[in-house]
């Protein structure tokens, strides 16, 4: 009995999120009002965040054989909860102009967050699979939420088909691993392997890990599975772009890293080398594709390919520092992407057909909405990794991990990639402060909930600088976010 309560305690943040979903459904049945649904979302996710703080003292807790609530999970739970909160707040003014029901959006968003949380804590293939699908299925709906614009529909369709194929790869890979070992938890795979099923380089295990990697790399949009990214980012409503770039990427990367740390079936030099090659190609291809792009959402999409490429360095390095580096990099990247997409969302608010995503839409934003423009400029600097922004801290940690492990070719690729990236980030930044053409899209300032969105942007901008000059708290948190390897 005691043990059951302990597990409930560990699952408390997810229970809060689940209750939020039910409360949203209930609220929708009683009366449809986006204000109420959004309020329920905010309260529920904040309660979950609060319960995280309480859990710190009790972690790690194993919730059944499927989930492990360790400090690592708590850290990334906090990241996705915050990103979910920000995403829902950006959606409020954005959807104010949407000519249809708006409440479902929040329901889907919270469900997706629940999936992300399950994914982060999973240590078992069933948890991984269901978490990933629980993350993805509401996302199809969110991407297609404004389905009367053809772009959103097209984006949703592309994502659904490719994501479905990726899921099949994931499952087949898992099945191979299960067939070879009879085990479904990450850590027990090698136990079985060592007990007479060949070595960790056994072809079945390698094939299984490879097929799982295809699926996870697809979700992370690494080359050559990156090709959907810009279209989906462009077509999806801007708040969904923010969600996709942050929650989805964080959760999938978190589970990928956990799998690589916990499960020794990934201990294969050749596999790691191939991942390194993919990382390098992703850094270069992502940045090169963004080079002459005129659509800000596509620029962010392409740049996310490169950023995840940088992150893969940590997996290749596998050094003890790499968990800390990944935690820092992902937290800073999430903050920055949220800010950038948030500005796009708020500039496009309220929704009226296509988003304001062309680079010309941002011309002279400084003279209309100085706070948004300065924040956007800060985000671009942070994405480019300029010192005194938090993006620099993340990049610095990744670089130092690469160098500490002697991966000079990866470090070189990071530097070359960042050099290319500087060009397009600064281009976006410069446009913000240019003179405004007469034909510029006019901004509407009276969408309900706009000031909450703006408040979040302020907060993120302040955080970008604050962490840039005073990163110690983040570094401390990240260094505490250790993965528990079950015995």
């Amino acid at each position: 009995m005691n043990d059951t309560w302990n597990q409930v305690l560990g699952a408390l943040p997810t229970i809060f999120v689940a209750i939020t979903i039910l409360a949203q459904f209930l609220a929708v049945t009683i009366k449809r009002d986006p204000r109420v649904t959004h309020a329920v979302t905010v309260v529920g996710l904040n309660l979950s965040l609060l319960s995280l703080i309480g859990l710190v003292a009790f972690a790690p807790i194993a919730v059944g054989p499927l989930f492990e609530v360790d400090p690592y999970a708590l850290f990334f739970w906090a990241v996705v909860l915050i990103a979910g909160l920000a995403g829902s707040t950006f959606a409020r003014p954005y959807l104010a102009g949407f000519e249809d029901r708006r409440d479902e959006f929040y329901i889907l968003l919270v469900t997706s967050v629940l999936g992300a949380m399950a994914l982060i804590a999973s240590r078992h293939f069933a948890g991984l699979f269901i978490g990933l699908e629980l993350l993805s299925i509401p996302l199809y709906g969110m991407i297609a939420y404004t389905f009367r614009t053809r772009a959103a529909l097209e984006a949703a369709f592309k994502y659904l088909i490719l994501s479905g194929a990726a899921s099949a790869f994931l499952l087949f890979g898992m099945a191979l691993l299960y067939a070879a070992s009879g085990q479904l938890t990450y850590h027990s795979l090698s136990v079985a392997a060592a007990a007479g099923l060949g070595t960790s380089s056994d072809a079945w295990l390698l094939m299984g890990v490879g097929m799982m990697l295809v699926a996870l790399m697809f979700k992370l949009s690494l080359v050559p599975f990156h090709i959907w990214t810009p279209d989906v980012y462009e077509g999806a409503p801007a708040p969904v772009g923010a969600f996709l770039a942050t929650v989805s990427k964080t959760a999938v990367f978190a589970v990928l890293l956990r799998f690589f740390v916990v499960s020794p079936v990934t201990d294969n030099t050749w596999l790691i080398f191939l991942i390194g090659v993919i990382a390098v190609v992703s850094m270069l291809v992502g940045n090169l594709l963004a080079l002459r792009q005129d659509n800000v959402k596509r620029i962010l999409g392409y740049s996310s390919i490169a950023h995840i490429g940088y992150l893969m360095t940590a997996i290749v390095a596998g050094a003890p520092l790499s968990i800390e580096a990944v935690a820092i990099y992902l937290a800073t990247y999430v903050g920055t992407s949220l800010g950038a997409f948030g500005v796009v969302a708020l500039v496009s608010s309220p929704f009226s057909g296509k988003d304001a995503a062309h680079i010309d839409h941002f011309r002279g934003l400084y003279y209309k909405r100085p706070v948004l423009a300065v924040s956007m400029a800060l985000m671009m600097l942070s994405l480019a990794g300029i010192p005194l922004t938090m993006g620099f801290i993340g990049k610095f940690f990744i670089l130092s991990v690469a160098m500490a492990s002697g991966l000079w070719w990866l470090a070189g690729a990071i530097i070359i990639g960042s050099g290319i990236a500087l060009f397009y980030y600064l281009r976006v930044m410069a446009v913000l402060f240019m003179d405004r053409p007469a034909s510029a899209r006019e901004l509407v300032a009276d969408a309900p909930g706009l000031r909450y969105g703006q408040f979040i942007i302020w907060l993120l901008a302040a955080l970008t600088v604050l962490i840039g000059i005073y990163p110690s708290p983040l570094i401390w948190l990240a260094s505490a976010a250790g993965i528990v390897i079950p015995a």
Binding site: L162, F218, L288, L289, L291, R292, P370, L388, I420, P471
Partner: protein
């Protein structure tokens, strides 16, 4: 001692709020801009008070650890000692007075055009960066401040960017100081490579243990630091940008290009003096550079027609004195002159700004004249500042600071440098009073309306008081921070040479009176044609350094680039952007938007990856 942080925070908050709300009312912008620096000055005063009270020991405030990965760690630490206290006093004290004056000046300079908030945002940001430069306890923070002040200087020189010439001046300043910055960066890397730390005190502590005197690496490190300092402080051979930098608003010239930023080079050399002591050759070179610059700039100042350019050349010349002092080991004297110079030079600049506004944006001194009667206040301010600059004996602050340098250069056995400095003193006196006589005496040539208001009078008056012997009473707690460099000589000999230099200064005044007070026939005739005109032109162009650089660097560079426009080197260089662009095009072709292309790429990618995994 956490008060120290407030000196940084107030101007930082000012800069942030001013840049976030560019459309705020002008009055609000002025208030925020000036008040933030005022509060910073107040905190500095408290910091100084507590510091003296607690015994005046060097003090380190490590705010936090900025980056720490493995062995490499950089703290966000502030280091407080006599030298940084002195610099802080100058930056926030003089800085506040200049901000106060700017609150008056910019109203008249902008005449209702937008841009007030932008101006004060840059100015406040400059104060932050400059404070960071002098307070940072490690070279990385110092470099951050160093680049920060360079950026603000660039932005403020080009403040009136609608005029292309101003934008070019800003660009030139940025480019030339950048050359110095690159050398400085190399120097920093070198120091880090040798000592494994960026902490300044640690480096100074380790340097004598690692290097013996005259070590080649020490020479290189010192040379790199010196070149960096030369760029920032407009010393030979990187001096040409300063005169053009006068394109910025006059308070900018006073703050950045007279009182604070251009003295950063002096601060840098003083801060890292231990390295220069280990590199005697380079240390000698510091003095020589200072001596040559002070003469060249002095001659140039003699033949300027623009009031601000004249003062700018005099600034170069005075910083030359500081370098000279550093070079001869008169460390205290250099910092003392730095402070005094900040007082009287900002007084001169601000008064010049007041005159320029009074004469409706007229900067040509030959179109002024006789302003003594219309602008009595400005006149007396300029005379006090000019007297301090010329180091007229006993009553002016400049006398005490400059004569210390002149005397110590001789006392430390540098007779040639002494000769340079005494000639420089004579020229200083001549060009200063030439300026005063042409602008304020003679016949009146233009209408003038005197500036009014406390924001106009108070800063000038305070600076005027500080430019007299009262300013020289301000002591500097440099003992223990820097070697004093004072040599015990016979008091009578010292007195004799002080009298000599006083007479030289007075002689310069007399010559200026003879040439410019009254009819000016002699000087007008002698520069009208022939040799005199050539010489005038030569001096006017600051001994032709711009033309020289144009001929030696710019023209050949352009010729080389022209010659290589289509050859294989160019082709190789072009490969990088060309390749990036071509790759971009090639990769973008793959983004067809068709789902079947996407599935095919994914399919092929998976097949190749898994096949490689199996068969690799």
């Amino acid at each position: 001692m956490s008060l120290l942080v407030f000196t940084l925070i107030f101007p930082l908050l000012g800069a942030i709020s001013l840049s976030l709300f560019p459309r705020m009312a002008d009055g609000t912008a002025r208030t925020i801009g000036a008040a933030s620096v005022g509060l910073s000055a107040l905190s500095t005063a408290f910091v100084a008070l507590f510091w003296f009270w607690s015994g005046g020991f060097p003090y380190i405030t490590t705010l936090w650890q900025w980056i720490s990965v493995g062995d490499f760690q950089v703290d966000f630490g502030l280091y407080l000692d006599g030298l940084s206290i002195t610099m802080m006093g100058v930056i926030t004290g003089v800085g506040f007075l200049i901000h106060l004056f700017a609150a008056w000046y910019m109203v008249h300079d902008l005449e209702g055009k937008p841009g007030m908030a932008r101006f004060f945002a840059y100015m406040n940001l400059f104060i932050v960066a400059m404070l960071l430069l002098v307070l940072g306890d490690n070279l990385l923070l110092l470099y951050l401040g160093w680049e920060g002040v360079g950026l603000c200087s660039y932005l403020l020189i080009g403040y009136y960017y609608e005029t292309p010439a101003n934008a070019w001046a800003a660009f030139k300043a940025f480019l030339i100081t950048r050359i110095g910055d690159v050398f400085l960066a190399i120097g920093l890397f070198l120091l880090y490579a040798v000592f494994g730390t960026l902490n300044i005190q640690a480096i100074l502590h380790l340097a004598p243990q690692v290097w013996s005197e005259g070590d080649t690496l020490a020479d290189i490190a010192a040379l790199m630091l010196l070149l960096g300092a030369c760029g920032k402080s407009a010393q030979l051979p990187l001096q040409t940008w300063l005169a053009d930098a006068m394109a910025g608003p006059t308070p900018v010239s006073a703050l950045i290009h007279a009182a604070t930023m251009v003295t950063a080079g002096v601060y840098l050399i003083a801060r890292t003096y231990g390295i220069f002591l280990l590199a005697p050759g380079i240390h000698e070179l510091v003095g020589i550079i200072g001596a040559v610059t002070l003469l060249i700039a002095g001659f140039a100042a003699l033949a300027q027609t623009d009031i601000k350019r004249a003062i700018a050349y005099s600034t170069m010349s005075q910083i030359g004195y500081m370098f000279l002092a550093l070079g001869v080991g008169a460390w205290h004297a250099a910092i003392f002159h730095l402070m005094i110079h900040a007082f009287f030079k900002s007084l001169l600049f601000l008064t010049a700004g007041s005159v320029i506004i009074a004469c409706h944006h007229e900067q040509n001194i030959f179109k002024m004249g006789g302003l003594r009667k219309k602008l009595p206040f400005d006149y007396w301010m300029f005379v006090i500042g000019g007297a301090a600059l010329s180091a007229l004996p006993l009553v002016t602050a400049g006398f005490y600071s400059k004569d210390a340098i002149i005397w110590l250069s001789l006392a430390n056995g540098h007779a040639v440098l002494w000769l340079f400095s005494i000639i420089g003193a004579f020229i200083t006196s001549v060009y200063t009073f030439r300026l005063i006589f042409i602008v304020f005496h003679g016949e009146q040539k233009t209408e003038a309306h005197a500036g009014r208001g406390l924001a106009h009078h108070v800063p000038l008056a305070v600076l005027a008081v500080l430019s007299t012997f009262i300013g020289a009473l301000i002591g500097q707690p440099l003992a223990g921070v820097l070697p004093s460099g004072v040599v015990e000589g016979h008091p009578w000999i010292e007195l004799f040479f002080e009298v000599v230099s006083s007479l030289v200064a007075l002689g310069g005044l007399a010559v200026a009176m003879a040439l410019y007070l009254g009819k000016r026939d002699f000087i007008t005739k002698s520069v009208a044609k022939g040799r005199g005109a050539e010489a005038w032109q030569f001096f006017h162009n600051a001994l032709g350094f711009d033309a020289l650089y144009d001929r030696v660097f710019v023209k050949p560079y352009l010729a080389v680039t022209r010659a290589h426009r289509r050859d294989w080197i160019e082709a190789v260089v072009n490969v990088i952007p060309g390749l990036a662009s071509a790759l971009n095009t090639g990769l973008t072709v793959g983004q067809t938007g068709r789902v079947r292309t996407y599935t095919m790429v994914m399919f092929a990618g998976a097949a190749v990856l898994l096949a490689l995994l199996m068969f690799g």
